[in-house]
Subunit: 393 residues, 2 copies
């Protein structure tokens, strides 16, 4: 009798692109492929101070088992910040601390999806959300998008014509991969529509606080009159991903179930990491830290956009994000991004072909660029190399 | 259209016992209910030193995203220690770092179980493993056990008469909840049997290094000639649970799949926690630290066993564990542990009724006692109170 695996594992495979991109770990490669924050902005000195403080003040608790929900003062701080920044109205009891926001996505699949159920998502959407949900064997239906978010009449048509839609997944602020942000009007139309169909929506917002210009828009969660929106975020982009601290914010009927799932999945998130972030926010100026990050990323975005404007052909389109980490490039249909990547790797420049961001595939002439992880000169040099390769087509 | 949840969530409920036990958080209650390590043994001073060192030496990497598999030096250290202590033959590439061993159990369910599949486990078994697997909707078949482990002819009968057995779960060293350890002979018989049936086995070993007397027995993984055994462990009992660092050790065909599951589930385990443990083991004497824990727990076990011998009636049986954190009490059939608990709580003493450790329930006259988390005098006082309540029956 041979060993067999669960059916859900049939969809588990190492991504071909990930294999190709392994070579981008060589330092000479200019890689726009990752989504890494700039490590030189991590508050390493402050962290040394805080780690010692936390261990001195509460070593026994920081190193002991703790509650599944998370460290209460941190839950409270998150609720207060969310309400101030995104106009939501949540309290500490609405928050579950997770191991990064990726875990919140996995739990969302676990909570809502039977095999064959339908997940709606933006087209394109975040590739690791696709992986997280895939473990629960759903069918993905992609909702067409424009510069203002999901196209609402298209969404409505999909809601009318598909059965077993259990979840809508969206990233309204500086979306991964496109860098686009939903307009206020689109947010309001969206909530009206899901209120009518009563479909839960995951509002994934890892980048919203990294805004380079203009005002932060209210979260869709802030307009949520029927407790259908589950807000997911993380400290990975505003602080440090290595601590693995994210969260889910949702009404009681959902958050109680997320907590039970967390209990079975890993008991709780690192007590010491939670206390470090919490104490950091008490002692240091977290808003000033976020401002220092956005100042740097704004300059990097400017360098990337400027170099693309100067060097890309007129029929190559790209987004101009107002925040976040990514821009999105659309080439004429005859250029295949995977082929382009292979050529670019010879010139030691890398990116992620757009195909991976469409759960049902088949869009081959797009790619994602990250600008948060390297200085402007290197960005300019990389874009020039990329443009030179593209010009050969 | 009302919101619906996945079928698997029907099995998710807050445990009634957990609710009862919430009152045990009051400091005046003598609680034998938890499974907490003694916090006074956490190396808080050393941790302060190490946290600063890690941030100084490698702050940018410790706070950045890192690989899903885990921090390579730590994987290597774990492999070397496992091989030395448990006679296994694993390398760094066989190791995946997880968020506590609980996550390794959750992933095991995710990897192997379709709804309706059968999981075999010791009767009784670890209650949080039951919760982890339940999310994947299996049927549990309990294998009868004695003081030497699973009773092999009973296991064979079950293997012969059940279909769709996908996984065998066992804790051979100082089992939770019974504190019992499988004999060497039983381990050998077990591996011969599963080799014949080719069923994967999860060998969960969180307590094996906490041995009070005698020699550590070879892990079942060390006898694994067909790569069927998946060894799971953690630093939660030998170091600090608050860091949430556990691991899976398995052959290539399994570990590759665990890594893909981890990637979708939460990307990776806290980089800084991994580096802290790794650096601690480089600089400090980890074996001496473990010895200091076992010395303390041995005295606590002695106090508990001694007080039970003096105060429990002759028809109450209990195990005498050679290591680990727990002992297991069996009362005459007419005493129900849940009723006893309610009476005991009035005397401010608590434990976990055994019912929760039988996935199919119906064993009502047993309970689990933890002795790691309080000094001897308090253990003696609690056991005396418990004995006084029991005598009323």
């Amino acid at each position: 009798m041979p060993v067999t695996f669960a059916e859900r594992t049939e969809l588990l495979k190492a991504s071909e692109i990930r294999e190709i991109l392994k070579i981008t770990q060589r330092p000479e490669v200019i890689s726009f492929a990752g989504g890494l924050p700039a490590p030189e902005l991590f508050p390493v000195e402050e962290m040394k101070d805080i780690a010692v403080k936390v261990l001195e003040e509460s070593g026994s608790q920081a190193l002991q088992y703790s509650t599944t929900e998370g460290f209460d003062p941190l839950r409270q701080q998150i609720a207060v910040r969310m309400n101030a920044k995104f106009k939501t109205d949540v309290g500490a009891t609405n928050i579950l601390i997770t191991c990064g926001s990726q875990q919140a996505l996995d739990f969302s699949g676990k909570l809502f999806l039977n095999p064959g159920d339908v997940v709606l998502c933006e087209s394109p959407t975040y590739l690791a959300a696709i992986s997280a949900f895939k473990a629960y064997q759903p069918r993905f239906v992609e909702v067409p998008t424009d510069d203002n978010g999901m196209i609402i009449p298209e969404l409505e048509k999909i809601l009318q014509t598909n059965e077993n839609i259990k979840l809508i997944y969206l990233i309204p602020d500086f979306q991964n991969p496109t860098g686009r942000t939903w307009s206020l009007e689109r947010r309001q139309q969206f909530i009206q529509l899901i209120n009518r169909y009563e479909i839960p929506a995951i509002e994934d917002n890892p980048y919203g606080e990294l805004r380079f210009e203009g005002e932060i828009l209210p979260a869709i969660k802030s307009m949520d009159t029927k407790d259908l929106v589950i807000f997911v975020s993380t400290f990975s982009k505003t602080f440090c991903p290595g601590l693995r601290i994210g969260w889910v914010a949702a009404g009681a009927r959902f958050i109680e179930k997320y907590i039970l799932i967390k209990q079975g999945a890993d008991l709780h998130t690192s007590s010491i990491s939670q206390r470090i972030i919490s104490r950091y926010m008490e002692i240091y100026d977290f808003e000033a830290h976020i401002k220092s990050i956005t100042d740097v990323y704004r300059r990097r975005r400017d360098a990337m956009i400027h170099t693309m404007q100067e060097n890309f052909a007129g029929d190559v389109r790209f987004t101009r994000p107002q925040g976040g980490l990514f821009t999105w490039v659309k080439m004429p249909p005859y250029i295949k991004a995977v082929e382009l990547l292979k050529q670019c790797l010879r010139q030691e420049v890398a990116f992620v072909p757009g195909d991976s961001f469409f759960p049902n595939g088949q869009v081959e002439n797009t790619f994602r660029l990250n600008y948060s992880n390297m200085p402007e000169e290197r960005i300019a040099e990389g874009i020039k190399r990329l443009a030179a390769v593209m010009r050969k087509y």
